[in-house]
């Protein structure tokens, strides 16, 4: 598999959020505004990439039996660094993300990539895989939070978009709207992926 493929599969085909459907809670919980969603996306991006690199470096020294605790300790250390950084430079964001920042530690996607990619591959592949997954995750966060902030609140990055007469669709800012929106987004992406597959097959049979 080419290195470009390693990077790019995380964006659409294996999008960690919509296709692999791992680590769902942040996408629902923190996406009420674009700033929060973006911060969460970037945090996960940073953690997954650095964790992949660290695990890839130490992969030969880890005893197979204790590998999961080792991975979790690595992830927890990186997350604590991010927490301290945000607490110092962006205390408001730190408060807004609250408990969900702690929970980055147990995001299945990070552990899954460490186990399935970083523990078996070299640094370059692990790094690119982490970057790709991070980009895919960040894009998912941005898409969801743009829809929810734009229609649920009538603003984008805090700037009013529709003028004062707009009545926000409050349901999108509330939990039920978040569940339903993600359900429909997943269905949409599934349809799109399937139609692409079909197109590929048609092309193949003609050629």
């Amino acid at each position: 598999m080419s290195l470009w493929k390693v990077f790019s599969r995380g964006i659409i085909e294996e999008n960690p959020y919509f296709v692999l459907a791992l680590s769902l809670c942040p996408g629902l919980a923190v996406t009420t505004s674009v700033v929060n969603g973006l911060t969460m996306g970037l945090t996960v991006w940073f953690v997954i990439t650095s964790n992949n690199v660290v695990v890839s470096i130490i992969r030969k020294t880890i005893n197979k039996k204790v590998r999961v605790p080792v991975y979790i300790t690595c992830i927890a250390t990186i997350v604590t660094c991010v927490q301290l950084f945000l607490q110092a430079y962006a205390p408001d964001l730190y408060k807004a993300l609250g408990v969900y920042l702690d929970l980055v530690v147990v995001f299945a996607i990070i552990l899954a990539r460490a186990e399935s990619i970083a523990s078996k591959n070299g640094i370059v592949v692990s790094f690119l895989d982490g970057m790709g997954m991070g980009v895919g995750f960040t894009i998912a966060m941005i898409v969801i939070s743009v829809v929810r902030e734009l229609f649920g609140n009538g603003t984008l990055l805090g700037i009013p978009m529709f003028g004062p007469t707009y009545q926000p669709a409050l349901i999108l800012a509330l939990p039920p709207g978040a569940f339903m929106l993600i359900g429909f987004l997943m269905a949409g992406l599934k349809m799109w992926n399937e139609s692409r597959e079909k197109a590929k097959q048609l092309k193949g049979s003609e050629g």
Binding site: C25, I72, T80, F184
Partner: protein
Amino acid sequence: MEYFTLFVGAVLINNFVLTKFLGLCIFFGVSKNLNASIGMGFAVTSVITMSTVLAWLLYNFVLVPFGLTFLRTISFVVLIASFVQLLEIIIKKQSPTLYNMWGIYLMLIATNCIVLSVPVISVTNEYGFLENLVFAVGSGLGFALALILMASCREKLDFADVPHALKGTPIAFIVAGMLSLAFLGFSGMI
């Protein structure tokens, strides 16, 4: 009365799954089958209760006196993971029947967001020991309730004619949205 409010709040109003979105992996993963959901619901409740009590003790008697509160995340994760592992060994030795029922769920629970978040929320709100216990039991039962409701819905959903694109996870999300809408109605209770 204060404890009762806290309990009802944790079970219904601030339901962890449906209003805080925690534990979704288990929620969508296990809810295809009602029996599995009941087992999982109670396994999660007991693990949450015990690990929250342990985490509370660790936080208030070790981390706070030594000024190490920034190690909260790491220490809680390690504590919960090792505690669940220990629990698994004990159950396996003491009661093989129970192990056959619960064993597979225990490892899934070890690194789950709901088990980590209850202690974290509890120490950020600076609950006392009893409050902490009531909050933990309430959160666990709230999770079990949501899981069992969801599993009952999904078992019926198998016989429904769902549009092709929505089959599987997407329709489960929409059902969860409706359940969440129903739970939103509880918010006026207190």
